[in-house]
Symmetry: C2
Subunit: 277 residues, 2 copies
C-alpha cells in the first residue's frame, strides 16, 4: 500500500451516508464507475438487502469493504437500554462478518442524565461485553472520539487521548481508534496522540470532511474537504507518519449536499480529495 501520494484514488473510500439519497446498489455502482476504491456501509443503508447480499454486491464491484458504521451507544441510565445496546452491537458484529467488513466504527454514546465518567464506565463495560464476539468473528472495533459538542448524547469519548486510553485499557488487537478530522482538528495534542495511537498499532481508520465556518447545523452541515477550516492534509500526513496506510474515508453528513445532484456531488468530492486530502 502507498503512504502519502494521493495522485490516484487507490486510498479513497466513501461512506454510504455521504450520498444518503442513493440506495446501496446505486451507491456501489456509482462509486465503482468513478474509481472509488473502498466503501464503508452505514447500517441505515441496507434497504431490502441482507448484509450477506450487500457483501456480494461489494465484492462483485471490485470495491474493497472498509467498515460498517456504526456500533456503540453503550451508556444509558437504565440497565435495560444498556443490555439492548450490547445486543445491538453483537448484531452489528455479525452483520459485519456476513458482509465481509473487517471493521466496525464505534460511536460510543453518552447519557446526559449521568456524569461523563459514568458514561465512560458503561462504554468500557459495553466494549468488554462485545469484544470476545468481535475477536471470534474476525471483526475489529474502532473507537471514534467525537467532538466535545456531542458530549451530551453521542459520546463521552471526546479526544484522541481518551480513545487511546480506552483502547489501551483493553490492549486487544481487535480494538483500536478511528480518527475523524471533524472531531479532533482543534485538539492541541492531536499530533502526539495520533503518533501514540500508531505506535500501539491501534490506528484503524481515518475519516475526512470539513468544518464549515459558519455551519448552519452542528450535526448535518459538514463540508466537503476544502469547504471549511480544517488543515486536512496536515492531519492526513500525521496519520501516515504514524504508520497508517489504510483508506482515507469521506464521511459527510450534509442536508445541503444531500439535496444536490449526487453525480455532481461525487465529482466534487473526488476533486476535493485530490486537492485537500
Amino acid at each position: 500500500m502507498k503512504h502519502g501520494s494521493l495522485t490516484d484514488l487507490s486510498r479513497l473510500c466513501i461512506h454510504t451516508i455521504t450520498t444518503k439519497p442513493l440506495d446501496i446498489e446505486t451507491a456501489i455502482d456509482k462509486y465503482a464507475a468513478l474509481g472509488v476504491s473502498g466503501i464503508t456501509v452505514w447500517r441505515d443503508a441496507y434497504g431490502k438487502f441482507k448484509p450477506r447480499q450487500i457483501g456480494e454486491m461489494i465484492r462483485k464491484s471490485g470495491i474493497e469493504p472498509v467498515s460498517l458504521c456504526r456500533g456503540g451507544f453503550f451508556p444509558s441510565v437504565t440497565r435495560s437500554n444498556r443490555e439492548a445496546a450490547i445486543a445491538d452491537n453483537i448484531a452489528a458484529i455479525e452483520e459485519a462478518n456476513e458482509m465481509g467488513m473487517p471493521l466496525i466504527v464505534l460511536v460510543c454514546g453518552a447519557d446526559p442524565g449521568q456524569s461523563p465518567e459514568t458514561s465512560r464506565d458503561q462504554i468500557r463495560d459495553g466494549i468488554e461485553a462485545i469484544l470476545p464476539r468481535a475477536a471470534e468473528l474476525n471483526v475489529k472495533l474502532a473507537i471514534e472520539p467525537l467532538h466535545p459538542v456531542y458530549a451530551d448524547t453521542r459520546s463521552a469519548v471526546n479526544t484522541m487521548k481518551q480513545a487511546n486510553d480506552m483502547a489501551g485499557y483493553f490492549n486487544s488487537p481487535w480494538l483500536g481508534v478511528a480518527v475523524d478530522v471533524y472531531h479532533v482538528w482543534w485538539d492541541e495534542d492531536l499530533q502526539s496522540e495520533i503518533i501514540r495511537c500508531g505506535q500501539a498499532n491501534r490506528l484503524f481508520a481515518f475519516h475526512v470532511c470539513d468544518w464549515k465556518v459558519p455551519a448552519t447545523d452542528i450535526l448535518l452541515d459538514r463540508g466537503i474537504m476544502g469547504e471549511g477550516c480544517i488543515d486536512i492534509r496536515r492531519i492526513r500526513q500525521w496519520v501516515n507518519q504514524a504508520g497508517f496506510n489504510g483508506f482515507n474515508e469521506v464521511e459527510i453528513f450534509s442536508e445541503i449536499h444531500w439535496k444536490t445532484n449526487q453525480d455532481e456531488y461525487l465529482k466534487r468530492i473526488i476533486e476535493a480529495y485530490r486537492l485537500y486530502v
Copy 2:
C-alpha cells in the same frame, strides 16, 4: 467571604447579557431590587452612558462591580486587524478602570484562515501587548477557555489546561483564568486543572449557565441552571475547593429567554441559583 453555602445571594452576580432586553439602568435597578450582589457589564450594554457613569450607577445601587465583558479576539490573518484588536483591548482596560471594574474577561479569538497554533501565538502576542496597561490601571485579565465548538472563530484556547498554560507563561498577578461551566464541563481533566489554577492563584472568575439537550442553537440557546446536563454544583464545589471565593456569575445567552418577561426570568434564575449552583 463564604465558601460553599448558597443559602443567600451574597455570591450571586448577573451578566447584563443575561437580561439583554433590559437597558443598563433598568438591569441595575432590577438586580438590586432582587438582592443580586454583583454585576458583570457587557460592553454592548453601555447605551447612552459613559463607563464612568455606569460605574457611578453601580456604586449607588450597592451592587459590587465584578467584571467587564469582554476583551480578546486577538488573532487575525491580517496585521491591521491584530493591531486594531490590541487597541480595542487597551480601550476596554481603560473603560474597566473608569467603571471601577476590577477584571476583564478575555474571549481570546481565532481565525479559521490559519492553524490554531498560529492563533494561539497571536493571542500570546496580544496579551503581552496589553498586560502592562492592565497592571498600570489595576485591572486584571481573565482568559476564558471556550468550548471546542468555537475553535474556528471565537477562541483557540479551548480547555482549562490551555488557559492555565497561557496564564502560566506570563506568570503575572494581573493575568488569570475564568471558568465557565458551559465551555469546560465535558473535559476529563477539569477538576485537576481547576485545582492547578487555584493553586497558582489564577482562578479569577466563575460563570454558570446550562447545556440544553438538545439545544436549538449552539451559541444562543443556553439554559438556565438546571435546564441542561451540567452538574454545576459539582464544578462549583471544585472551584471553591481550589480556593475561589468570588462570585458565581450567571451568564446566559438565550434567544428564548430574552423573549420572555425579564422579571419572571430573573426570578427563575434566582430559584435555579439556589437549587443548582
